[in-house]
């Protein structure tokens, strides 16, 4: 632990806190059934119909036929008929609650619990992303186009029979190999080719999409009449709004001007521009508070309801 050694006071503080939390947890387990999850289970069975090449599977048990089955569990209230305590889900809820508290403990300062949670989240999430990119990127995108028949038999049974080897996918395959070549001690520069390909396509694609959807679309939606007429004649405030919007956009654009120093008229206009930007930021800040508080509410909901069954 790289921190400066803790003071005795801080250590005692942590000790007391840990003791209180652990005692509380034990108490909660016995009095509140904390974290306990009940489920009902249902077995799904499939039976083989036909033989060899023609073999298909149909749902339901057929006597004598080869069968496969698995259990599907549904979370239910404890008083439901046939409900059983699910060990793995109960352990899961406890684990989730403990990890939640570990992360929150960071608010009191860096500590071993947070470090543990941090180490877990990095390891687990890196692996999670890798697993998902393997199945959805490598298998579902690359392999189905390079070796369709093998992939169909192995992992994508729904791949249509019409699917064929698609040579265009050799491009990403070759580029991927060049990229991984970086692991070899020699010729690491070969990885620059795929990087150049990626950055080149990115530049081309983004140039178009941002110019079309951000530049043109935003100008288009700002264009409105500055003299607003409604069902009952001239509308004062909407007209004022329209004028203010147009002037504000122009002032902000002046703020972003790089060629001229912010002095004189340009400086004054740019100043108005930065004021508008500050109001924009203030508004976004205020609106975001609501979202962030909701996230905390959800976490407390989990702790109080799913774990402690207090609500």
């Amino acid at each position: 632990m790289s921190d400066a050694p803790m003071t005795t006071n801080a250590k005692t503080g942590w000790m007391i806190m840990i003791a209180v939390v652990v005692l509380g947890m034990i108490l909660a387990w016995f009095t509140l059934d904390a974290g306990k999850v009940w489920v009902t289970s249902e077995t799904v069975t499939f039976s083989q119909v036909g033989v060899d090449d023609q073999a298909t599977w149909s749902e339901g048990a057929i006597a004598g036929a080869p069968q496969v089955s698995w259990v599907v569990a549904t979370e239910v209230k404890p008083d439901t008929v046939g409900a059983t305590l699910s060990t793995n889900r109960t352990i899961g809820v406890w684990l989730a609650a403990i990890l939640t508290l570990f992360i929150m403990s960071f608010l009191a300062g860096d500590n071993p619990f947070y470090k543990t949670a941090e180490s877990i989240v990095i390891g687990v999430s890196a692996a999670y992303w890798m697993v998902l990119s393997f199945w959805t990127g490598i298998v579902d995108k690359l392999l189905v186009n390079i070796i369709p028949d093998t992939t169909r038999a192995w992992a994508v049974p729904g791949l249509p029979e019409s699917a064929q080897f698609n040579w265009i996918y050799l491009i990403p395959l070759v580029l991927s190999c060049m990229l991984i070549w970086r692991l070899s001690p020699k010729g690491g520069w070969i990885a620059r080719w795929p990087l150049a390909f990626v950055i080149g396509t990115t530049a081309g694609f983004r140039l178009l999409s941002h110019l079309e959807s951000d530049f043109l679309l935003q100008i288009k939606s700002t264009i409105t009449s500055l003299y607003v007429v409604g069902a009952d004649g001239f509308q004062f405030w909407p007209s004022v709004s329209a004028v203010v919007i147009l002037l504000s956009v122009l002032c902000c654009l002046v703020y972003f001007f790089f060629s001229m120093e912010h002095k004189g008229v340009v400086g004054k206009t740019a100043r108005v521009g930065i004021y508008v930007l500050m109001v924009t930021f203030g508004a976004a800040f205020g609106l975001t508070v609501m979202g962030r508080i909701t996230l905390l509410t959800e976490r407390f909901d989990f702790l109080f309801d799913d774990w402690l069954h207090l609500l």
């Binding site: 729904g158 699917a163 905390l296 509410t297």
Partner: protein, 291 residues
Amino acid sequence: MLNYLRNLDRRIVFLLMGLAVALPILFKLSFPEPVPEGSQPYHVFDQIDNLPDGSRVLISFDFDPGSQGELLPMAMGFTRHCAQKHHKMYFMCLWPLGEPFVEDAMNIVIGQEYPDLIYGEDFMSFGYKPGAEAVIKNCIVDMKTLFITDSRKTDLNKIPMTANIKSAKAMDLIINISAGDPGTKQWVQYAATPAGIPLVAGCTGVQAPLLYPYIPNPLKGLLPAIKGAAGYEQVLIAAYPEMGAADIVDSKYSSKAALQRMGPQFVAHLLMVSFILLGNFIYFYDKKGGA
């Protein structure tokens, strides 16, 4: 006292914030939540409700567990509403950590509250697809080459709902629940605008300001943050009182999940306001005193 406030430990601020959220939850504090006639939750409700029964609706869950507090109630509300109207639901997901929520919507909400709906005929899932806006762009051109199979690896040509559909242009409505990019903005730019498909969305509070410029065209309705979700739940319950009657164990899937989360907002917002006032009081006091 003032000196104490001047050097207020961050942890005190943290503790107060924690209490401001925790106590209203424990005491189930709630405040009136007026949904003005003609406000966004009504727009969203009308878009889904006025579609002919059995219309095709593409629902994209573009969020992850981090934002579930704000977005899960809307996602489940949309699912319930579509199921109630017997719309054909096509689920998909552009965020890698979001797919389990699609499964929850199908297994928990549809499975327990609308057990007569059948997978493949009334609802189906394309699953998670990496590629962000490229997926959306290709979605309105050719869904079958894009997805190939559903999330259960069944050929799309063999699923009744998708057999005769080539692209998302066949959809009558797109619903998007988004926590960022890829999200509502990309659906507006790459699907709703070029293909002319109506779009309604639910988004986080952070995203909302960026999306207001797209209302009402092509964004027909927007549920901003938990406030929007709560409003939508209220409108839904008023229209379909029987909705969400099933006994769902996990309260986060219940039909009143968002409404339950509005109480803490009030207290926490007041606390934030007091922090700002207090901070400025100290600042001006010090300035006046020449400190």
